[in-house]
């Protein structure tokens, strides 16, 4: 259960990081501004990094020592990673719609 919770927490932290970077990207003036594209790009970069990093960190630092638990954990890890990914996307979508005319609005 803790793996799922950690995955969700990790997704939220990565999302926060994506939000901070998106906010740090300045608005560009003139025709065809590129800043919305940059924010969207960083959102999806973190969307990919989120499960990859969580999987790697979990595999090396969170694996249980007990063999029986390990098998069970190995079964649940991909699901936890998937949950984290879905949470990242859903939360990102919600934030994008809440701040639809702000910088986060460029995510979707």
């Amino acid at each position: 259960m803790s793996t799922y919770i950690l995955s969700v927490i990790f997704a939220a932290v990565v999302l926060l990081l994506a939000a901070l970077i998106s906010n740090a990207i300045k608005f560009e003036g003139g025709a065809k501004p590129k800043d919305p594209g940059k924010r969207k790009m960083w959102f999806w970069i973190f969307a990919i990094l989120n499960p990859v990093i969580f999987y790697v960190v979990a595999a090396f630092a969170m694996a249980p020592v007990n063999k029986g638990e390990l098998e069970q954990w190995k079964d649940s890890l991909p699901i936890a990673v998937g949950v984290g990914f879905v949470v990242y996307i859903v939360l990102g979508f919600v934030l994008s719609k809440v701040f639809k005319n702000g910088k986060l609005g460029n995510w979707f």
Partner: protein
Amino acid sequence: MSQDKLFVIGIGGTGMRCLESFVHMCAMGMFDNKEINILTLDTDQENGNLKRVWDLIDLYNRIKNPTGSDADAGGKPSSNTFFSAKLNLSKYWPSYSGGVNYQSLSNVSIQSDETKENIDLASLFLDSSAQTFDLAHGYRAQTHLGSQLMYHSIIDAAKNVKSKGNGAQSQERELLKYIEDLIKVKSQARVFIFGSVFGGTGASSIPVIPAAFESAYNLFKDLPLESKSVEAKFGASLLTEYFKFKSPTDAQKKEKKNAVVADASYFTLNSQAALQFYQNDPTVKSTYKCLYNVGWPVGDVTDFSKNKNEAETITGGAAQKNPCHVTELLCAFAAHDFFNRQQFEDKEADYLFRTVQHDNNSFNFDFKDFAGDSKQFKNALPGLYSIAYLTLVFHQGAENKEGMSGWIDRMVKMKYKEYENVIDEQSKKDITDYFKSFLFYKDSSGNVNDGWLYQIKNSFNGHFILPNTAFAREWSSIVKINAGELLEDDISRWGRKKDAGECANRFVDEFIAMQIKSEQVPTGVPKEKLLAQLFNTITKLQNIN
């Protein structure tokens, strides 16, 4: 504002610059729901200031034109938006090209028994040099000559249109149509005249225009010459000395065509004499309803020849393209007052003036110095400044690019597609070009050139309405201006702790939610809607109380 029909006449170089300020006021939205008939009257059709105001009105009318076709020229009057007034431009200039002078024009150079008396009479009032200088560059401060010539030029125009019809010159037909339109609406016409009283063309023409229009109309319509056909209410600005230029050299004065050259050293004297005339002349007092005295501290006048390498006095032509001055904006506001006035004195002209704080050779101009307690002006000037600034700086319109696409693309990125692909490129370029003429632009060398508002600010020492930082001259300082921090009241400062990009985004955020009303967009075309929505957005953000 009253329902009277409005007419504006700009005369001479100064009159053209006053007109320029007036047109910028129209662009700000200071003359809602008004159709204004403008007449430019100058002896010198090559004059740089005349061309500049023609170009400005042409640009204004292209922006107002809903379809781009001649049939829709100038669009329709609207309210609560930028470019709300409809402007109709008429042009008139006496034909003085080809070395024309007083003698050749009035035939007094032909010696005969028939003309002898005329020659004697002319010689009594005009010395030989005044009768022989080239009139192509105007009346050169010879107002006694100028008044006579301008009056007769208008009469001759009426004679030509009457006898030749469409064969008359286009400027003569335009003048007669303007006079007819003015007389047709009888006492509902309000006519305001811009011009200086210390120079040549304006000073010569202001006193005679009402009488000349009446005589021309009577002649054209076969009415008795003494008929009182003009019932319009006339107003004028009496603009005294506020600039000087290089005095003529002896070598220049030795040339026959330049035997008479306007000498700025006489402008103070000219101003004094003119004011005495306007104060006492019974015809002027009975013809004009309001005369607005606009003056400037003696000895502190703007030098138009400064930083210019002029070998001799510029008497006119394309080279006479001087920057705008704050007195001209005051004259434009005199017209605003005249057009908004509810009551007039019955018998004699009302002489009006207003004073402005002036300490240690420094002025402190505030909104109220121009328009009293007008919330309209307090909203319009910084509002147009903010939008123009963001278009030119943030959306890069100042750099030989078109800046309006920046706004529209930003809206599209924020999922607001109302204006995507519906406004043609020429219209977007025209609006950007207007903003350049209003604020500033960068030339190909990267130098910042002053637009109208910058010229006004730089025409004197001191404070001009907005913070001094809003008139930075260096590009590195200009990019740091905060377009949302132009007003003093906290409630009107919408750009706090924001850079230009954040201001622009905040603006678009409000813009998207903004509704427009039908009276703001009488033609209903996207360009007009865009301008109205820009106006509504800045009005909400500035929240003027």
